[in-house]
């Protein structure tokens, strides 16, 4: 099972959580399918992930109290679970984004400087 995961997921560990938080922050409440569509759209299909992969991440974020899920009806009159950001989630997004930016900056410097 773990072998499978490593093979398919191109996203670094923990990054998916940040992306989900970011997406929910800009788009407002979304269900898992909507989230998957949005990710494909913004990444210009560069990010190719099984949509099922979102579920453990969503649950993890929910357990951490960063997002919360609620059942709502879609435009097509279907029951779906919509996830939205909590206050704790907003804070975490802010912190994580900062951390990510610092790390990205550092990586850039290191990789750029080593040539």
């Amino acid at each position: 099972m773990s072998k499978e995961e490593r093979g398919r997921s191109q996203i670094p560990q923990g990054t998916l959580d940040l992306i989900v938080l970011r997406t929910l922050a800009t788009m407002g409440p979304l269900h898992a399918y909507g989230l998957a569509l949005r990710l494909q759209q913004v990444s210009d299909d560069l990010l190719n992930l099984n949509q099922g992969t979102l579920y453990p991440a969503l649950l993890r974020l929910e357990q951490q109290g960063f997002i919360k899920g609620a059942w709502r009806t879609t435009q097509n009159n279907r029951e779906a679970k919509f996830y939205s950001l909590t206050r704790a989630g907003e804070k975490a997004l802010e912190q994580e984004t900062g951390r990510w930016n610092r790390l990205a900056g550092l990586m850039e410097k290191l990789l750029g400087g080593s040539v």
Binding site: M1, E4, R8, H31, A32, Y33, N50, Q51, G52, T53, Y55, P56, L59, R60, E62, Q63, Q64, G65, T74, N76, R78, E79, A80, K81
Partner: protein, 883 residues
């Protein structure tokens, strides 16, 4: 913080697993439906869209599984699954489950019962914080040590406040409680005023006794009820406070109820009522101030910070001072006072029972080991039957570790179920124990299970699981998924299976040998020649209610009661004696010849035993009168002092001479009595002792506070008691009937410990043997079943039934042989510590060895008979068609 939030979320998920599982299902199917819709909108066909949706989503089941992993605690959830799985698996084979649970219930049950004794007698500590400083007083006299003190002695000890910060005394008694209407026997403890504060006791209701209640002798008729007595005898009626009840017809006012958990000085005893020592007279017929009667036992607390050596030294130094105030004529007047630690409460029988209890603990450990060996074999056999199930599981991807865990869980469930039944079983066994040990006299033993015992039982369950389950579980995970490679572990399993049988046989031999030793010893004790005849003799204790020794009319009343008893139809003879033989009481003194030759005068016999008896004492007990005469009506108070001695004393004082007419010096009579007769030798108070030198003196000439009426007759005891009660109430109302017994019951009481050890060792021996035989039966039976096909082939190529028989008989003989070779030396080694408990039976008793061997051999024969017969009856045609 975040981790904590996540942890809680997981815990919540564990509780609401069913609900969230549904929600997940709903969420994912909605998701799939939405992708499908989108694909259909893009123009795909229904079928194509459905597959496309699944492809886009990825593995639905994998997602769910990973989701579940994230949701809860993986191991915990798996654990619950495994527990449920183990339960189901056991339910599917109820036969195995029942046998296994019963095996362990017995094995753990006897352990729980005996550990309850160990705990109650050896482990429990006084429930007070300063238990470490608690000591009990002892008086060291020349030949022995006594823990009894008179009140004046205790009072002096209590005054040693530079050594002890607190000292309390107590004395247990039976009394008749009359609470208006019916009267019943209860256990009363006389206690000093500080007794309750010594143990930091609190009342449930009213108040407990204090110093003020114990000041003036006879002046404080108050009592405290135990919680249990308040409930059982007064229906927990709160209005009993202030009520007056009668104890031995004397009125006492109830002032309080103790808490249910109050135990007092002796952790193994239970009392119904507590009364101040100031009220000794109505309850013990002795004045508290009497310096001669040693009736109190004591506990004290060492002054905090005081060095133990220093404390011992100070108390020894004080002994002389204490002695100075005491009367000089008593043997204990020159006692040295000392103390020993008593953090586990007053040592009533801790020292006496320590070794027997530990021996029993060892025996039950062996029983449990046999049960464990047995169960290991059962599990191995079950494992072989399930090898297909295991290989399917393994090939479906279950980890070997998890399979092993499942199997160990099965063992644990069996052990726990066995443990629960064991606790119920142990309760019954303890009740039997109390009846046997306590007999008629000590109804107030308090030995019960507590949390320590429960913890012990569960620890044993856990240990059993590992001992029993580990090898079979390990063997199970060696199961190879490819059926061709089965060799290795099969051989190991076979070896372990046989080793387990050998272990069972050898341990059963140890138990059996021990039981045979105890049984033979008890048999010898019961048939030992006492020098008197104990059959058909009733012994009825008559206690004088007055304050002074019996003289004048009470003595006449006693005589009249004796004469009336002799006239009861069916009575052969009757007498009065003090003390009665085997009653446990004894009187001793040293004796010399008076007058005679110079060499006669140098003779001196220490520890001569005394009996004060009426006429017909020897006739009633069938002690032969060898010379001279019995006591007669002439030998009254005021008449010349006379005595009858036994042969042993005669030969010690006057070897080769006729003692009749000679005088003895010493003893309990103020005058020096003249020997008027010589009687046969006998024992006195114990069955193990050698024949004692004894002096008999006429009861009429002695100062006593009562005597036992000994009546030889074939009348049932209850009927005799009624007759005597009538006689006593009409002719001697100043007396009360204290104890009603027979010589045989007194004898049984003397050997209560031996009877208990014998009973339990036989019980454990029988249990061990039965378990071992069940083990042999199981193994041979299993082996026959496995080899049915082989037997069929052998028989079809011409083997005789006798050869098949030999095949299995050889196996049985080999197993039993190994068991004996191992068990016999083990039995001989382990029986060594029993030596001090055996009477005239050597620990390497050859008869016991023979008995054990025969029983093991016969037993194994019987146990293997049925399965072996099944082997010889195998029909070759059917056996070959079978597979």
């Amino acid at each position: 913080m975040q981790r904590l939030t996540q942890f809680w979320a997981k815990l919540r998920a564990l509780a609401g697993r069913g609900r969230s599982e549904q929600a997940l299902e709903k969420e994912i199917s909605a998701h799939l439906a939405m992708i499908e819709e989108e694909f259909r909108r893009q123009g795909m066909g229904a079928e194509e869209a459905r597959f496309g949706a699944r492809r886009a989503f990825g593995g639905v089941e994998q997602t769910k599984e990973r989701y579940r992993d994230q949701r809860g605690f993986v191991t915990l959830e798996q654990f619950w699954q495994d527990v449920r799985h183990a339960g189901r698996s056991l339910r599917k084979s109820p036969g195995f489950a029942i046998v296994a649970i019963v095996l362990l219930a017995f094995g753990i049950g006897v352990n729980t019962a005996i550990f309850t004794l160990v705990n109650a007698i050896l482990l429990k500590r006084l429930p007070i914080p300063e238990a470490d400083r608690v000591v009990q007083f002892e008086a060291r006299m020349k030949p022995f040590t006594s823990d009894g003190f008179s009140y004046p002695q205790f009072h002096e000890l209590q005054r040693q406040t530079s050594i002890f910060s607190d000292a309390a005394a107590f004395s247990g008694n039976r009394a008749v409680l009359d609470s208006g209407g019916d009267s019943q026997q209860i256990d009363v403890e006389l206690v000093t005023g500080n007794y309750f504060s010594f143990f930091h006791a609190q009342p449930v209701m009213g108040r407990l006794l204090d110093q003020e209640d114990d000041r003036v002798e006879g002046g404080h008729p108050v009592c405290v009820l135990s919680y249990q007595a308040w409930r059982s005898r007064f229906g927990a009626d709160p209005s009993v406070l202030g009520r007056v009840v009668r104890l031995n017809t004397f009125p006492f006012q109830i002032v309080g109820i103790a808490r249910p958990d109050f135990v007092g000085a002796e952790l193994q005893m239970r009392y119904d009522v507590w009364v101040p020592t100031a009220m000794a007279l109505p309850l013990t017929w002795n004045a508290r101030s009497n310096p001669h009667v040693v009736w109190l036992r004591t506990l004290a607390k060492l002054r905090p910070g005081l060095n133990i050596q220093e404390a011992h030294a100070r108390l020894r130094a004080a002994s002389t001072g204490i002695n100075d105030i005491l009367p000089k004529e008593r043997a204990n007047a020159d006692a040295m006072f000392d103390f020993v630690g008593a953090s586990k409460g007053f040592n009533t029988f801790r020292t006496k029972l320590r070794q027997p209890v530990l021996i029993l603990m060892g025996a039950v450990a062996l029983v449990l080991l046999i049960a464990c060996a047995n169960l290991t074999n059962l599990l191995l056999a079950r494992g072989s039957e399930r090898s297909q199930e295991f290989s399917v599981k393994l090939s479906l991807g279950i980890s070997r570790w998890r399979l092993m865990r499942q199997l160990l869980l099965e063992s644990l469930l069996v052990a726990l179920a066995g443990g629960v039944i064991a606790i119920l079983l142990a309760r019954e066994l303890i009740a039997v124990f109390l009846r046997l040990f306590a007999g008629e006299s000590g109804q107030n033993l308090s030995i019960s299970m507590d949390l320590t015992v429960l913890a012990f039982t569960f620890a044993v369950c856990g240990l059993t699981t590992i001992v029993v389950g580990l090898f079979p579980a390990w063997a199970a995970i060696q199961t190879d998924t490819t059926p061709t490679l089965k060799g290795g572990s099969g051989v190991q399993k076979r070896f372990v299976r046989r080793a387990m049988i050998v272990v069972q046989i050898s341990l059963a031999m140890v138990l059996l040998f021990g039981a045979s030793l105890f049984s033979r010893s008890l048999r010898k004790l019961k048939t030992v020649d006492l020098g008197f005849d104990i059959e058909h003799v009733a012994v009825i204790g008559l206690d004088f209610r007055g304050k002074e020794p019996i003289t004048g009319s009470p003595a006449l009343a006693l005589d009249e009661a004796l004469n009336r008893a002799r006239r009861i139809p069916g009575v052969e003879s009757a007498d009065l004696a003090n003390p009665s033989m085997l009653s446990g009481q004894s009187m001793t003194s040293d004796v010399k010849p008076r007058g005679g030759s110079k060499t006669d005068m140098t003779r001196h016999v220490d520890n001569v035993y005394f009996v004060f008896a009426s006429q017909q004492h020897f006739a009633t007990l069938h002690i032969p009168l060898l010379r001279g005469r019995d006591f007669s009506d002439r030998d009254r108070k005021g008449a010349p002092a006379v005595a009858i001695i036994n042969q042993r004393l005669a030969s010690l004082l006057w070897p080769g001479q006729d003692p009749v007419g000679k005088q003895i010096l010493g003893g309990w009579n103020r005058e020096n009595p003249e020997v008027i007769g010589v009687v046969g030798n006998s024992k006195y108070s114990d069955l193990r002792e050698s024949l004692k030198p004894i002096v008999y003196e006429p009861l009429d000439q002695m100062a006593v506070m009562g005597a036992s009426l000994e009546v030889r007759s074939r009348m049932p005891l209850a009927q005799m008691k009624q007759q005597i009660r009538k006689i006593v109430s009409s002719t001697a109302p100043g007396f009360q009937i204290a104890n009603v017994s027979t010589m045989e019951l007194l004898r049984d009481n003397v050997i209560a410990g031996d009877r208990l050890l014998t009973f339990l060792s036989v019980l454990f021996g029988a249990l061990g043997v039965v378990l071992a035989l069940v083990g042999i039966y199981g193994l041979i039976s299993y082996s026959v079943t496995r080899r049915t096909r082989e037997i069929g082939i052998r028989m079809s190529v011409g083997a005789q039934r006798s050869e098949v028989l030999l095949l299995f008989v050889r196996e049985v003989i080999l197993l039993v042989g190994f068991g004996v070779v191992l068990g016999l030396p083990l039995a001989l080694i382990l029986s060594k510590p029993l030596e001090s408990f055996l009477y005239e039976v050597p620990t390497a008793d050859p008869l016991g060895i023979v008995f054990t061997l025969i029983l093991i051999a016969l037993g194994s024969l019987v146990a293997s008979f049925l399965p072996v017969r099944r082997a010889t009856q195998v029909n070759p045609v059917e056996a070959l068609r079978y597979e």
